[in-house]
Point group: C2
Chain length 291, copies 2
DNA sequence: AAATTAGCATCAGATTAAATTATGAAGCAA
DNA sequence: TTGCTTCATAATTTAATCTGATGCTAATTT
């Protein structure tokens, strides 16, 4: 029956889609910059190949059949996607997208962004701040700064830095509650973050035998730091994220007792992918900034 | 800079996608049934056209760049869609898909299906039973039987039939409750359907001045008829949907008082689409069955 | 009814795109 | 080094696609 069993050229599909959308072969030819004759042949060949009527001919007019309509609609979507993907790819040269947690973006990256732009004006560096494990290919992300235990399957991970955690609060809050030694924390509001076990671990390191008082769990580290800045309580601050606020005096660490964090910062990238020049420079810069 | 600003041939994209997925030009060529050389050229031309590096070359090996990776992933999805659409279209010849409400499918269509198949063995008629207003193109539906006021914008609607509604219940239930005149319904459980106002309208037609008692609203007409068959109460039955159960004696209409329904049955199709022979025959059959 | 018009089909030939073959170079492994 | 694999490039061939002329059909106008 069908000799040439279906695997029509994409060109034929493209032409057909236009014909269906424009409602005629002449206007489709117009849109595509080819003649009516060419459109007619492509459509005819496609119909023969699929052994399906895509248009009903009646003299000077053609009308899509339901089958043709459905095919055309699906092709239209796919073609649009392809064109969008292509034009994005064409635009994305010299662009590097870095994914990281909102807290890292706000507290580590943002203060350094100005310096990066000065050092590398030709690189279009973008940050995608999100809390989920990013899908590099699908989301157009080139690399990620992750906070975790690493490594991750299928991904190349380079350890950037470890850090310590210690209680932080505002100077005002420390004085108000009277934080002189770890045991005074019993009187304070403890804010719990992404890794709630850390408070217990810190109390152990501090040699404090009292029960660890409970407190609100706000979830997002950026939100917790904001709460601390608002004099809401004491949180365990990650050394890499509180540098700035300590330097400016907005926050203080009332005790000099630090717990080594169980998680570290990593620079993560898909394994099979080749790094661009821009990417390599971003990578070097990130590593340098973490030292 | 870029002479041939982007509008690469779909073939080039197809070839590139394969190369990215297979991780090499030779194996891509293999997959596509062409030579390595052809792949190399397509990819090279594509890169030149977009002015983007899609692969990093190092002697005998190529590695996708992040940009290439992202492009390839998106193309892969689109190409898969296109191929699926094509092979579905090829398969869907002589097939007609009819959308209707589950209640209509169960009570009107199902009893007639055998007859249709006998009369038109060469037509592959499919029924899509759903309660939402179907999107013909996207869902691959050729026509719909709708119950409503019509017409609908962009759609060609032919009125099939009007109908009447009247209370129905099982003979057992009628006797148990003692349904002799409309006022006896006060003692019964009234089941409310998609158009709850109808009970009130029917009471008015019946000349019954009592307050209409409340009752459960089950929503789906098919569910309501099932509840009636289970001796759960009295519902307003649409004449077109209860024919069978009345004929078989499973249901009775205790009073011969009928309300003309505000809604009618319509055969609905997209306007711009050309009906196939199979579709025309289905259409004729549906109309005939509604008389 | 005849003429006109718009739009599609079809054919032979021209043009362009794509693929091939042959060859060279770059990396990698023994 | 010597193979071995794989990609790049160039010249050539092949295949796909397009064109232009012409004929056809159905609808519309005269």
């Amino acid at each position: 029956m069908s000799l040439n069993h279906y695997k029509p050229s994409l060109r034929a599909l493209e032409v057909f889609e236009s014909a269906a959308r424009m409602g005629g072969f002449t206007s489709a030819g117009n849109e595509l910059g080819i003649t009516q004759s060419a459109v007619s042949r492509q459509v005819g060949d496609l119909e023969a190949m699929l052994d399906v009527k895509l248009f009903q001919r009646r003299g000077a007019h053609v009308t899509v059949t339901p089958t043709g309509m459905r095919l055309a609609e699906r092709l239209a979507v796919a073609l649009k996607d392809m064109r969008a993907a292509v034009s994005e790819a064409a635009r994305s040269d010299g662009m590097v997208t870095l994914s990281m947690l909102p807290s890292v973006a706000a507290k580590w990256f943002a203060p350094r962004l100005g310096r990066f732009v000065t050092a590398h004006p030709q690189i279009d560096l973008r940050v995608s701040a999100s809390r989920h494990l990013v899908d590099f290919g699908a989301e157009g992300v080139d690399a990620a700064i992750r906070y975790g235990r690493g490594p991750w399957p299928g991904l190349a991970a380079q350890k950037l830095a470890t850090e310590t955690v210690s209680p932080v609060c505002t100077p005002f809050y420390a004085e108000q509650v009277g934080l002189n030694e770890p045991a005074d924390l019993i009187q304070a509001t403890l804010l719990y973050g992404d890794i709630p076990e850390d408070w217990e671990a810190w109390f152990a390191v501090a040699g404090c035998t009292e029960n660890v008082p409970p407190g609100p769990r706000l979830g997002d580290d950026a939100a917790i730091l904001q709460a601390v800045l608002d004099h809401q309580g004491v949180a365990l601050g990650r050394s890499r994220l509180i540098e700035d606020d300590l330097a400016s005096g907005k926050l203080v660490t009332p005790f000099d007792i630090r717990l080594s964090a169980s998680h570290a910062y990593w620079l993560v990238q898909p394994e099979i992918v080749e790094k661009s020049d821009a990417m390599l420079r971003v990578e070097d810069w990130v590593k340098a900034e973490f030292d």
